[in-house]
């Protein structure tokens, strides 16, 4: 690849020498090797801890549970049973809806916070970012449980309102329903959404906003035509970061969801636990994987249009 030079240096014609020298030569001269070397720990872990299990999950989803035995004959029975049972479909649909709401709520809560830190905070930005992580210093379970206390029958809201005489009977619509799940999950995940949005806002060249202003845009138009499109990468990252894990969550629905707030994650957990039907659990997992992929693709398509202002 390199041009032959008139002056030949010693190292160019030297034999390979020790493996260490050979490796050093390779890594210094080949950018691709350098890249893959840097990637290798992650790549190794991902293959081992993610690629392989997903592959087995996929495989198992075509098996069937025969009482205590697992039949390894190829079968679409699990998928057929999902298509046949409206309850399962309802659960998946509800999960996607709940996660959708959680995502929207998280991003809507996180965006102004990220905007504030990126554009208004001048000193100690780092301290503000640390402060955002404070909620994570307690356990996730504890935070979910706290909402139970806030929303419960004799909880903070109900006893407070009763004491003040606004209500006679405790409100029952606060806990054990999808609303409680959305609220709890959004509270738990909003902080995660701040970081990517903050990073993308921080990167925006301030002269672009001045240019938009100079070209006649007021505050709302500036936001819609410049700030939002240029922070879309952060919004997308934040949304995926919240949406994907919450679709499969089963802890929060178990604790605050009640029967009406059960999600697909609960169903899958039961298959791998009490019901002891791994193939069905695997099939349900694969189905929600496909559903998530579909939603994410649609979302990416939409956000790209916002980014390039093709709406």
């Amino acid at each position: 690849m390199s041009e032959p030079t008139a002056v030949s240096t010693g190292s160019g014609v030297a034999p390979m020498g020790t493996p260490l020298r050979w490796w050093r030569r390779l890594i210094l001269r080949n950018e691709a090797v350098r890249g893959y070397t840097l990637l290798s720990p992650t790549l190794f872990l991902m293959t081992l801890a993610l690629g392989a299990p997903v592959f087995f999950l996929f495989l198992v989803s075509f098996f069937t549970q025969d009482l205590l035995e697992i039949s390894t004959d190829f079968s679409l029975e699990n998928y057929m049973s999902f298509l046949g049972k409206e309850n399962y479909q309802k659960l998946l649909w509800r999960s996607l809806k709940v996660s959708g709401f959680v995502t929207v709520l998280s991003v809507v809560l996180a965006y102004p916070m990220a905007y504030f830190i990126a554009f208004r905070v001048r000193k100690n930005k780092f301290a503000w970012l640390i402060l955002i992580t404070v909620p994570f210093w307690t356990s996730y379970l504890l935070r979910v449980f706290a909402w139970k206390i806030v929303l419960g029958h004799n909880g903070v809201i109900n006893s407070g309102l009763t004491e003040l005489g606004f209500i006679e009977e405790p409100l029952t619509f606060l806990l054990y329903n999808p609303f409680a799940v959305v609220l709890t999950l959004a509270h738990a995940w909003a902080a995660f959404a701040i970081m990517p949005i903050y990073v993308s806002l921080e990167k925006i060249d301030r002269s672009l906003l001045e240019a938009a202003r100079d070209l006649g845009d007021g505050p709302a138009m500036r936001f819609w035509r410049v700030t939002l499109p240029l922070s879309m990468a952060g919004v997308v990252a934040a949304s995926l970061l919240v949406f994907i894990p919450t679709v499969g969550d089963f802890v929060t629905p178990t604790m605050v969801g009640g029967p009406k707030g059960t999600l697909i994650g609960n169903l899958i957990q039961i298959q791998f636990g009490k019901a002891n039907n791994w193939p069905l659990g695997a099939a349900l997992s694969v189905i929600s994987l496909i559903a998530i992929t579909a939603v994410v693709c649609a979302f990416l398509w939409f956000t790209k249009r916002v980014r390039t202002q093709e709406l």
């Binding site: 672009l208 938009a212 202003r213 006649g216």
Partner: protein, 371 residues
Amino acid sequence: MNANAFIAIDDVSKDFGTVRAVDRVAFGIARGEFFSLLGPSGCGKTTLLRMLAGFEFPTEGEIYIDGQAMASEPPENRPVNMVFQSYAIFPHLTVRKNIGYSLRRDRLSRVEFDRKVGRMLELIKLPGYEERKSHELSGGERQRVALARALIRRPKVLLLDEPLGALDKQLREQMQLELRDLQREVGITFVFVTHDQEEALTMSDRIAVMSKGRYLQIDTPTQLYEAPRSREVAAFIGSMNFFDARVEEVADGHARVAAGPLGHLRAATRAKRFSVGETVLAAVRPEKITISSRPPAPSDASGGTNFVKGVLDATAYLGDRSHHYIRLPGVDKPVAVSAQNLNPAEFDVESRKRDVWLNWSSEAVVLLRAT
């Protein structure tokens, strides 16, 4: 003084905290003029430009554009547009949408929109660039897109904040001429900020030389260069040799001054009044001095020409010309002489320490009041 000017800057000051960036500036800019604000960084030129654009508001004073008071209007309401130093091309939009960005409020049909954008692309000589993104453009192309974007709604004033600073030398020189042509073509008033004096001289109708929040002189390029009114302006625009002198005699638009160890010099007074005995600076541009290795013939040493003998101290070869530095007896700073290399062999590195004779005409001397 300039209530009728197209742009009137009326006693404008701007404080940032305790720092006064612009200090009671007042002048006018005519309609259709290519006007430059020239000065070193921190002189207040960019702050003044940003006050014209509306990104900064004056602490005191008023700005009128075409008769309208503007100092309290936000940028989106001003009939001015700006070309930013970094161009500020929207990276998420195509060239077409960048150039047509300000047309949103006109609610044009797509055909009309495309026609206007197409016309601007013709103007900046980039037809067919509609669907490119900013990362696909070179520095010069970005600069043109920024220009087209700012000009598309025909603002009353176009503001340019050092728009050529990021370009390499050749492209910059080309863009200087193109920008000048473009300004003549569209007939819009341009206010141009730069720290590059050559750039300002090449393009401007008039230049305001600024320093420490005030302007020192506003004049045409030729006047600024040939007849600077102060030592600061003379030293900032081009280079200049200064000699301390005292006026001995004034007659017929010429003065004879005593310049210490150099003896007597003759200088044109250019309609300025000097009194005998006044302390002055005699200033001469390096390219107006002729250097010779031979003493002058007796017949030359009369009339309006000044002759001085010195020793060649150093020579810098620049290709088309050479800079010579000559020590004169009793003068601290060597005199700079710029000579076209018609005969490059005459003075070279080997010529150091040789005796040389300098001469310049009395018209080449600018007399400045020593303050």
